[in-house]
Amino acid sequence: MGTAPTLAVWKFASCDGCQLSLLDCEDELLAIAGRIRIAHFPEASRATVEGPYDVSLVEGSVTTPGDVARIHRIREQSRLLVAIGACATAGGIQALRNFADADQFRSVVYARPEYLSTLDTSTPASAHVPVDLELHGCPIDRRQLVDTLTALLAGRKPDLPGHSVCFECKARGTTCITVARGVPCLGPVTRAGCGALCPAYGRGCFGCFGPAAVTNTPALVDRLRELDMTETDIGRVFRTFNVLAFAGGGDDPSQ
């Protein structure tokens, strides 16, 4: 027991969905819990163990001065820090505030801003501390989480894809919905990991796993225009859960 690796789960600004993915591993949860020591997971247990921790899963984005200090403390106590989900890897949907006039945003929002303390920006863990591994998605994929924890327990580096959702459509046998039905789809520029879910439901990918490792976004944007998407809609679809990631890397489609 004393030698079992320790796992801690931390929450920043988020919806709790990514850490819920761990509790959603109904078949594996008790098996995983038998091999590791869940040392800090307030959503699941009131018992906590002091650090250091072997693996820390960090959900959510950094949005308050207190949380800037907290992410540093967590880094110091963690051998491996894994950022889980679009909030922790890209600032999440709440990073839309980074593009708004912060003062205006704040004055619209708060009757009594003196009660609160929030930063003008929502940023990923990696903006503050070195991050060992990132699981993408809003939310993360449950299987990827299990595979990652299993690999880390075995001392292996997990195998996380950098290619696009298009590869997963082919693997799944889904006919390309853009080719067949003219449905606009972000699949060509979005990171795989979800199993190409949306196209299987007749819906275009909306980029919830963020950009793939290599993308040709300008080419896709041209294609989206051909498919009658307006500039407003193109701007909107890239500015959702991974707005910071799609805006980074020099290929902000709105520029």
Partner: protein, 434 residues
């Protein structure tokens, strides 16, 4: 032990609630002078970031308020947006929405009963520790939860933030055979839910009753889930479209969530016990019988027994899902067209934790001009604090450690979803500014 004066208890990080909260209680002598449920979850400004977005994006964006009840957000959002556009979604598409919602009730209630709440009654810090001694019981809970997730996954694409919901209906509707595959797991879940009712009915419950006004949606003929009229146990009824005249929110310094009250009436409670009290006669025969054998009667005013109500609703949600699957014939189209229209729309549905109100003002091209969301935990916060005040006053003899532990449990009775409650600070402001 004698009463010590000037005690102060606090729990800095509440465990087994969704989100970030803390509790502070001050006792001077034999008087409880201050009780605060402090919600320090950083706000994520949802109402502000919705402004300027397209009306079809609202269900996906608001789902991200809460990973535990994303379907509730999608359903209230669709209802409000469709109301603004003067469109109606009915027939089989409405049934499929109710079916999807049953999946979320099953998943969320199983999560709360087995992983978050039951450990309190049995003296364990959490479900993993509980499983060391009672593995089959925890496995039963996980298996029910899994059935709910299977339903969500089939109909929604995935359990957390389903991708298949859209304004007007769905992107794709299932074939009859696909839904039939859920019958076996759901039947098993229904049996397990019946065992759950029996199991939790045997827990020991502190003797405690509150006198809060209870608010739930009511739709005569069926247990309210995705539709209904806001109604209280003291005779107040109002149209969903009029909710802003009745539900008044106030900012309090110690919380990033608002306190809601009913105009001219005061604090009120929403959630499973309110829902049961106002809707119990429309439970399915099986669920009604389970409630009766668990001793629930015609209402529930002991928040500790909310776990029994959740278990009964679990039976109902499985039963209702099976009924909907049984009668399912795929509709001609997966969605109805909802053309944009300038207007204001209102929506309310029964999230697992209580009534969730949405309101949107749309421009003619469907751009969101303003948004307002009133989640259940914000509505319940005043009641939770009131319960804590009375609860502590009656237990001043307990040691700090024991009292703190029991207070934590009292808070978990409400399954507070702090992530939801917190993102709405701006709502209040939008209203005072206008």
């Amino acid at each position: 032990m004698t009463h010590r004066s000037d005690r102060s208890l606090s729990v800095a990080g509440l465990a087994r609630v969704e989100g970030e909260g803390a509790m502070h209680v001050r006792v001077d002598g034999a008087t409880v002078t201050d009780v605060r449920l402090e919600i320090y979850e950083p706000p994520r400004f949802f109402e502000a970031l919705l402004v300027g977005r397209g009306y079809t994006e609202v269900p996906d964006i608001t789902a991200r308020v809460c990973g535990i009840c994303p379907v509730a957000y999608q359903m209230s959002a669709c209802a409000a947006v469709e109301d603004a556009c003067q469109s109606t979604v009915d027939g089989t598409l409405a049934d499929l929405r109710r079916l999807l919602y049953c999946g979320e009730w099953i998943e969320s209630h199983a999560l709360h009963i087995y992983l978050l709440h039951a450990p309190d009654f049995l003296g364990y810090p959490g479900a993993v520790e509980l499983a060391r001694d009672h593995r089959p019981v925890v496995e039963r809970g996980l298996s029910i939860k899994k059935a709910g997730n299977e339903l969500l996954t089939l109909l929604g694409g995935r359990a957390i933030h389903p991708v298949n919901v859209k304004v007007g209906g769905f992107y794709r509707v299932p074939a009859r055979e696909e839904l039939r595959r859920l019958v076996t797991p759901l039947r098993r879940a229904r049996d397990d839910a019946l065992s759950t009712v029996e199991w939790v009915a045997g827990f020991e419950y502190p003797d405690f009753a509150h006198d809060h006004e209870l608010l739930a949606l009511v739709e005569p003929g069926r247990y309210a889930i995705e539709t209904g009229t806001p109604t209280t146990d003291r005779g107040l009824t109002f149209a969903v479209r009029a909710f802003e005249e009745h539900v008044i929110e106030e900012q309090v310094p110690h919380s990033t969530a608002l306190h809601a009250t009913l105009a001219g009436r005061g604090r009120y409670l929403t959630g499973p016990t309110a829902r049961y009290t106002l809707n119990h006669r429309w439970l399915s025969p099986l669920a009604r019988e389970a409630a009766r054998s668990a001793g629930l009667g015609t209402g529930c005013r002991n928040p500790f027994r909310s776990i029994v109500v959740r278990a009964v609703e679990l039976v109902y949600a499985c039963d209702e899902a099976l009924r909907l699957i049984d009668g399912y014939e795929p509709p001609a189209a997966a969605a109805v067209e909802v053309p944009p229209r300038a207007g204001v729309g209102y929506g309310a549905t029964e999230a697992p934790r209580g009534v969730l109100f949405h309101r949107y003002r749309l421009a003619a091209d469907g751009t969101v001009d303003s948004a307002r969301i009133v989640p259940p935990t914000a509505q319940n916060q005043a009641c939770i604090e009131d319960d804590l005040r009375r609860f502590v006053a009656a237990r001043l003899d307990l040691s700090d450690e024991r009292l703190t532990y029991e207070c934590e449990q009292a808070i978990r009775n409400y399954d507070p979803c702090i992530s939801c409650a917190t993102h709405f600070l701006d709502l209040h402001v939008a209203r005072t500014v206008q």
